[in-house]
């Protein structure tokens, strides 16, 4: 059973074999934010359970979420959510055959970064000032 897959492998190219490019950096960021959001689904499940349980569970969930660690996690998840959403739409456009030209790929990449920053900023401005 334990035989290695005898196929071409995909090495981790980025910092060692490739110079920095925004396209590959954003691609890796898409995966990282995806993994982060998947981990976040654990918290989402716990939050849903806490709402269903109410009382003590909900109170301690609230205490955790407004603690410094909770707030940091929520901030990182908001960044990951907006980035993965915007860059995911970029990926869907590629799947449909649009935006492969180098100039377009760079421009859409910077647009994704700008939109992520804007949406994250608006979200937290709303949280703290609305």
């Amino acid at each position: 059973m334990t035989r290695p897959l005898n196929r071409p492998l995909s090495p981790f190219m980025f910092p060692f074999w490739y110079r920095f490019q925004i396209t590959s950096a954003l691609s890796i960021l898409h995966r990282l934010t995806g993994i982060g959001l998947a981990v976040g689904s654990i918290l989402l499940a716990f939050w849903l359970i806490a709402v269903a349980e109410g009382g003590e569970s909900f109170a301690s969930m609230h205490v955790f979420l407004v603690s410094p660690i909770g707030m940091l996690l929520l901030f990182l998840w908001s960044v990951a959510f907006f980035y993965h959403l915007c860059n995911g739409i970029r990926h869907l456009a590629w799947d449909a055959g649009y935006g492969f030209e180098l100039r377009t790929a760079y421009r859409s990449g910077y647009t994704v970064l700008a939109l992520t920053t804007l949406l994250t900023a608006l979200t937290w401005l709303f949280v703290f000032f609305a």
Binding site: R3, P4, S41, L48, V51, A52, T123
Partner: protein, 138 residues
């Protein structure tokens, strides 16, 4: 690998059967289905994710009763359930493709895949039960 000239002219070209023949590298077996599921859930998650994010933002300053009321309402319960299910299905395909790229031993890949699947099933079950409890009680 017999007569590729004929198969190339058939609809097999559009399906995963053709990939299996390419340079005899073999296929990932479920690749096409997973690829489609990834895109389908991605499209669904655009409105579902925005709805969820907007709802959570509106809940930020409210109490437990408001949050419970939201999840007990038919629209809230249904859309959050769909968000959780689409999100977890999307995450499952995504994490499995990451594992496929970096875990190069078949047994470890199998074990890691099973762990991820189990985690997704438990999370989906727990989330759905929590929402159902709120929805059915209220």
């Amino acid at each position: 690998m017999s007569k590729p000239a004929i198969t190339a002219n058939t609809t097999a070209l559009r399906d995963e059967t053709m990939l299996r023949r390419v340079r005899q590298l073999g296929s990932a077996h479920d690749g096409l289905g997973e690829w489609r599921l990834q895109r389908l859930t991605a499209i669904a998650l655009i409105p579902l994710g925005l709805y969820f994010a907007a709802s959570v933002l509106w809940l930020v300053k409210s109490d437990h009763l408001t949050a419970a009321g939201w999840l007990a309402s038919p629209v809230g319960a249904l859309l959050v359930m769909l968000f959780v299910l689409a999100g977890l299905a999307h995450a499952l395909v995504g994490i499995r493709s990451v594992l496929l790229d970096y875990v190069h031993t078949r047994s470890r890949l199998l074990a890691a895949g099973l762990v991820v699947r189990a985690a997704v099933v438990v999370l989906a079950g727990a989330s759905i039960l929590a929402i159902l409890k709120l929805f059915l009680v209220h």
